[in-house]
């Protein structure tokens, strides 16, 4: 059986990759994908801690992840709608060029 540290390290690596993508890429869609990856890394931590907890019958980790997936789906829908709206206005999705709050 893989120890808890293996899952935590995997989650930390996924979080770092998502953070690197969100901070370094130009395209707003890739930035959003990086944020999704970070949310998924947090979910993996919840599941791993639930599996290795002393009271797994409470189901807290699993239910937190289910709610987290719901919030992430809402975030993806609103984020992609914002990107489409920005693209209509600026004709670009490059986050380096979108530097005004006022159109």
């Amino acid at each position: 059986m893989t120890p808890l540290a293996g899952y935590l390290i995997l989650s930390a690596m996924l979080f770092a990759i998502g953070l690197a993508g969100a901070l370094t890429r130009r395209n707003a869609i890739i930035v959003l994908i990086g944020i999704e990856l970070m949310l998924n890394a947090a979910n993996l931590n919840f599941i791993a801690f639930w599996r290795f907890s002393e009271h797994p019958e409470a189901l807290t980790g699993i239910l937190f992840v289910i709610f987290s997936i719901g919030v992430a789906a809402a975030e993806a829908a609103v984020g992609l709608a914002l990107i489409i709206s920005i693209y209509r206005h600026y004709k670009t999705t490059n986050v380096d060029e979108v530097n005004l709050l006022k159109g």
């Binding site: 059986m1 893989t2 120890p3 808890l4 293996g6 899952y7 935590l8 995997l10 930390a12 690596m13 996924l14 979080f15 770092a16 990759i17 998502g18 953070l19 690197a20 993508g21 969100a22 901070l23 890429r25 130009r26 395209n27 869609i29 890739i30 994908i33 990086g34 999704e36 990856l37 998924n40 979910n43 993996l44 599941i47 791993a48 801690f49 639930w50 599996r51 290795f52 797994p56 019958e57 189901l59 699993i62 239910l63 992840v65 289910i66 709610f67 997936i69 719901g70 992430a72 809402a74 829908a77 609103v78 992609l80 709608a81 489409i84 709206s85 693209y87 209509r88 999705t93 986050v95």
Partner: protein, 196 residues
Amino acid sequence: MTPPFAVIAVLTIAAAVAAMTLRNLVHSALAIAVAFIGLAATYLQLNAQFVGLTQILVYVGAVAILIVFAILLTRGGEAPEKSVFSLSWIWGVLVTLAVFATLVWAIKHSFVVERETSVTAPEANVQQIGQALMTRFVLPLEVIGLLLTAALVGAVIIAMKEESVKAKIEDGRSKMDEPANPSSILHPPSSRGGQR
């Protein structure tokens, strides 16, 4: 570390790195779908079957498709000629390395990593999850339903806003044009510009 976990971990990390570094956005979306599937396999390995299947349903089925739609609607399908990385990418890399080092340090120095899993796998079937959702977690369930409704209505409004406002303005302008500018009807513009 068991071989199945190692295979799944390497696949997930490789897919995530590919999603963040590939130039073509459609390839990125496909790679992120593979990473989501790898995460779902990890959940199944951790005996959380319901969450694993939910992950496939929501992320691979809905979010990945939504991302592909956004890519196609913004004409991001073709790879850019310039660099795909931002101007201040070096700072992003430094921040990422600092965060990763902190996380690894915290994991190495934590006491919970010594904990062994219980011999009997914990039970988490759909009946138990449903009962928990309807009793102890009923308020978060209602709140998440409200949040999803509001988010989807908001997403539709944000995505269609500018066109409808522009159409309304042009509609109003074309209605205002006719009574406010009768000279264009009475005197057609001459090529010599005598009217001006």
